[in-house]
């Protein structure tokens, strides 16, 4: 396998693994917990490293997971005092923990290859140099094995608890009432986010973990309404960002992780604008066609409400519509023209009145309300 292929493979596995717990973070409106956790696991990693002196030991993953759960617990503790709102609690806990980690590295571990830039930014380009060898046989880059293992854990969790996760994501109170222990699931999910973050940030760094966890699921959220497709779309977008990011970095000779994050953003913004049904483009198009329907409805209801009343001669005049309904001239003309075409209304000079069909439409629209 060439180094280039190996890097892309690792990038894809990392992105895909991040996207899975990310879906639930986005759905449960806890996206910023990924930011908090990916920063706060640093002291856990550093302490485990200082104790074992080994960067690759499983203790590091354990230390990170514990630091992640500690973050969640601290945020919860601060919030419960009622002295701080949740966002402020998050924003105080994770910089503090992250700072502890950075200071520890700078003071005690500055000369080993656990340096701050690598933690923050990751360096995927070096990943193929760290090999997994058993009895002298080279099985491939170690990062690939670590990430694949975490991927399996994530998938196993989702498969096992799919029903419960689905319920907690859409209705926390109901899940609690049905005895699904949402608090327990919450902590397990946060533990998973921590493990995934520690596996990933070796490769992409702690801040860009956030991009891989949040952006693909957020994009998928614009494309679908149901959970299963959302997971698969997120995974697909993650993989796409990884490969396109790799090539972008290759051509610019720039950071691979940064390029992957940039690509998740490009895909996200593309979806924001062009997503079918929910994208800005499609909403705009639909709105302009609906506006005329809306205008017709408003017109017939307006005429209906004032029909036969003493003020009708005043209210049902063409010029009145622009005046009282605050319609601009163009829109009023379009609404009237379209209503005349459908023979919902009749026009006598400046006065408008409903036809029988128009009256029926007005009555029906009122019932619909």
């Amino acid at each position: 396998m060439s180094a280039s292929f190996e890097i892309q493979l690792i990038a894809v596995v990392v992105a895909v693994t991040c996207a899975i717990p990310g879906v639930f973070l986005v759905l449960q409106r806890m996206s910023m917990m990924s930011d908090a956790i990916s920063h706060a696991i640093l002291p856990g990693i550093v302490v485990a490293f200082l104790l074992t002196g080994d960067l690759g030991s499983p203790w590091m993953i354990l230390g990170a997971a514990m630091a992640g759960v500690l973050t969640v617990a601290l945020v919860e503790l601060l919030r419960k005092t009622g002295l701080l709102k949740e966002d402020a609690a998050i924003g105080i806990v994770f910089p503090a923990l992250f700072s502890v980690g950075v200071v520890l590295i700078a003071q005690y571990a500055g000369d080993v290859h656990l340096d701050i830039d690598a933690v923050l930014l990751g360096e995927l380009a070096f990943a193929p140099f760290d090999r997994m060898t058993i009895n002298g046989v080279d099985f491939g880059p170690r990062a690939l094995f670590v990430m694949s293992a975490i991927f399996c854990v994530d998938v196993a969790f989702i498969v096992l608890f799919f029903k419960e996760l689905k319920l907690t994501s859409f209705d926390k109170a109901l899940a609690g009432a049905l005895g699904f222990a949402p608090a327990f699931l919450h902590y397990v999910l946060m533990g998973l986010v921590s493990i995934t973050a520690v596996g990933a940030f070796d490769a992409v760094g702690s801040i860009l973990v956030v991009a891989l966890m949040v952006a693909p699921p957020a994009t998928a959220y614009l494309l679908t309404d149901s959970l299963k497709p959302m997971i698969f779309i997120s995974v697909g977008i993650g993989a796409l960002s990884a490969i396109s990011g790799y090539w972008m970095a290759h051509f610019l000779d720039a950071s691979i992780a940064g390029s992957m994050a940039t690509m998740t953003g490009v895909i996200f913004l593309t979806a924001v604008v062009f997503a079918p049904h929910r994208g800005l483009w499609s909403v705009r198009k639909r709105r302009s066609s609906q506006q005329i329907v809306f205008g017709r409805k408003m017109l017939v209801i307006h005429l209906y409400n004032h029909e036969g009343l003493p003020e009708a001669n005043q209210e049902c005049r063409v010029d009145h519509l622009e005046d009282h309904l605050r319609w601009d001239h163009l829109f009023a003309t379009r609404a009237i023209k379209s209503s005349l075409q459908l023979s919902l209304i009749k026009q006598h000079g400046a006065l408008l009145s409903l036809t029988e069909t128009g009256r029926e439409v007005a009555r029906k629209s009122l019932v619909e309300l």
Binding site: R287, M298, L325
Partner: protein, 248 residues
């Protein structure tokens, strides 16, 4: 006739869903008006759209015969109590003084005259000894009175109030009713979003029944009828007739 509040053809839609459809409302001066209707009927939206806080798709609002934008200083607004963070670092007097910020205009700070005025309207709601109290230490009823005092200090001609009776104790409810009736005696016009149908005939003299469109509006004795209520509240006939039984 010169109406105190004259809303014409008010239509509001969120995204593509209509919240208010072609609503008209004329309120003569010196009237205490209850705006009632089921949840999601658009009561709060009607107030907010009238005050320009929500964008209307169509419609116009006249206050005493002139557009609202020109009459802003004669209109006071009491938002729902739950719409603000009561842990905000400020005290009662300060919140009431906010009612005068519009008159002060840009850059000017409130001074002694403003504090005196604020204390006076706090006294009107029976809260003068709470002037220095931090707002997080108030009960629900006290919070509501502070909001009322903030509106009173504006010395407006027309008042819009969003559920001033929400979650207040019986004593406060009585005090608020007395206050509203006092305002009416001074010839002011008060429009109140109200939830409790039972108390409409007792507290108010005009009523508007709203459910996305206007069902009826006018004097309570003419418009607060079983038929209108049924139209407003839809199928819940049993509830409505129980209510009219209670009325008798």
């Amino acid at each position: 006739m010169d109406y105190a509040i004259d809303i014409r053809d008010m239509t509001v839609a969120y995204r593509e869903k209509p919240v208010l459809w072609d609503v008209d409302l004329q309120v003569p001066p010196g009237v205490l008006l209850a705006i009632v209707g089921p949840n999601g009927a658009g009561k709060t939206t009607l107030i907010k759209a009238s005050l320009g806080l929500v964008k209307a798709a169509a419609g116009s609002v006249l206050i005493h015969g002139r557009p609202y934008a020109e009459q802003r200083s004669t209109v006071a607004y009491v938002p729902q109590r739950g719409s603000v963070d009561w842990d905000f670092p400020t005290n009662v007097l300060d919140v009431v003084t906010m009612g005068l910020y519009g008159q002060l205009g840009w850059f000017k700070r409130p001074g002694k005259a403003e504090r005196v005025a604020a204390l006076k309207s706090l006294a009107q709601v029976g809260m003068e000894e709470f002037a220095a109290r931090q707002i997080s230490q108030l009960s629900g009823g006290q919070q509501q009175r502070v909001f009322l005092a903030r509106a009173l200090v504006q010395d407006a001609r027309v008042y819009f109030m969003d559920e001033p009776f929400q979650g207040v104790d019986a004593t406060t409810e009585r005090a608020i009713v007395d206050l509203l009736q006092g305002l009416r005696k001074q010839g002011k016009t008060v429009a109140v979003v109200h939830h409790d149908l039972q108390t409409v005939p007792e507290y108010f003299d005009h009523v508007m029944l709203l459910n996305v469109r206007r069902i009826a509006s006018g004097p309570v004795e003419e418009e607060f009828t079983e038929e209108n209520l049924r139209t407003t509240y839809g199928g819940r006939v049993a509830f409505v007739s129980a209510l009219s039984a209670a009325k008798k």
